[in-house]
Symmetry: C2
Subunit: 277 residues, 2 copies
Amino acid sequence: MTRSQRAPHRGTWSLRLAATSPRVILGDVDGNLQRVRVALQGAVARGAQLIVLPELATSGYLFADRDEASAASITRDHHGWADLASALPPGVVAVVGYAERDGMQLFNSAAVLTHGRRIGDYRKAHLWGAEAALFDRGPTAGALFETPLGRLGVAICYDNEFPEVPRRLALAGAEILALPVNWPLIARPDGEHPPETIQAMAAARSSRLATIIADRSGAERGVAWTGGTAVIDEDGWVAALPDESGIAIATLTLRSPGDKSLPPHNDLFGDRRPELY
Amino acid sequence: MTRSQRAPHRGTWSLRLAATSPRVILGDVDGNLQRVRVALQGAVARGAQLIVLPELATSGYLFADRDEASAASITRDHHGWADLASALPPGVVAVVGYAERDGMQLFNSAAVLTHGRRIGDYRKAHLWGAEAALFDRGPTAGALFETPLGRLGVAICYDNEFPEVPRRLALAGAEILALPVNWPLIARPDGEHPPETIQAMAAARSSRLATIIADRSGAERGVAWTGGTAVIDEDGWVAALPDESGIAIATLTLRSPGDKSLPPHNDLFGDRRPELY
């Protein structure tokens, strides 16, 4: 459903949201771009309007050093981007994690693409583990993009473990949050969601912000991934987990942008007391 | 274990933490105070060092109007406080929710007590539902208290659904968070924790802040309570739920106050980028 189909005021609208996790081979940029393209086509075929791919989906994650990361990095004018954008029908938006080279700098970035063009890029601000030896830090804590689907927030992995980030994006008008991640698997109690999922669920509920998480699965250089790919609805519940084809997809009913009301008395944003924080 | 038994630097310490939920009868202040006293004694007998009671444990919650709330409110010099404080051995701290009268003002408050004395009081800042017609808003978003167990953060119910609140308290040095609540039961998917618990788990993990939740159980004036009483450890996992006697109690191992390190590369607070928020 496009923006024009939204109810004009205090209504609801719906979006078909997907996260998909193709196989990623460390350093195989051309092969990864091809697999990302196939994954986008698969999601489009299932009616997805927003499609989120994992962090560093074009490069892999576990680089031994900056030279190796640099060799797997690409610029914003790499020929592969036009190819990916051409896979998207009008009105469809994709968020693809990649290793970005810009002169002497490297960033852990996400490209926001739509039919035939690039909307923009976000550069990860909070670097996890050894990333600080590989990448430069981005200049904003998450970012907002005006897309054919509405105002899209983008953050990458560890960014979202700082509650300031999804909150900041929501307060600035994010209608949905796209979250490419690479979550190394850690122990958790039986029956619990991954802890990073719990943080995303909480942030979604606090700000009524549906969140689309695309994680890796399998392993890379001995590190197992969590496989945390999920669609989280704006009440903070898991609406979809990956099916056998590795795609999590759901049609969510969303309240009108900016509607944070909790009738009859409350409002998630109006009840804030920013003068006290 | 008292503060003097802590490892001096980057070590761990342990605390026995309890949340307990005695029966509360709307408007029966004397009876409620007596039941709170018995609940404190029961937790003390099981070795609890910090004991958290629900929001409005001395008054009940579902007042029809401000007059009814006022009739069930007490001042800080009510005789019942000394009686409760006398039930606490040296070094033990209790947090008790109550309806506070101060001149013409009414607050949804929590008293912080220890052996034979009152440490302080917190007045709820974010009022839920019809509370705004009953209570005045407190002047701080959560509060910190220096106690024999360390620096204790206190917030009440809806306060903690604003991620700014636990984050602010943790950044200001809270070592543990006491959270008296009255959570009306809402629907949730099978197998999920209550949504407010998920928010507390996420906040605990984000800031390494163990959180002790004391909720009501049963029902009052037709509103069923969630029964969300729980001890959440500093990694955000549920360490204890209520046993058959209605007490959730666990001995938690805590890292040294202020230690937010995630070796070898990260630090939950040091990795923040406050210049970007």
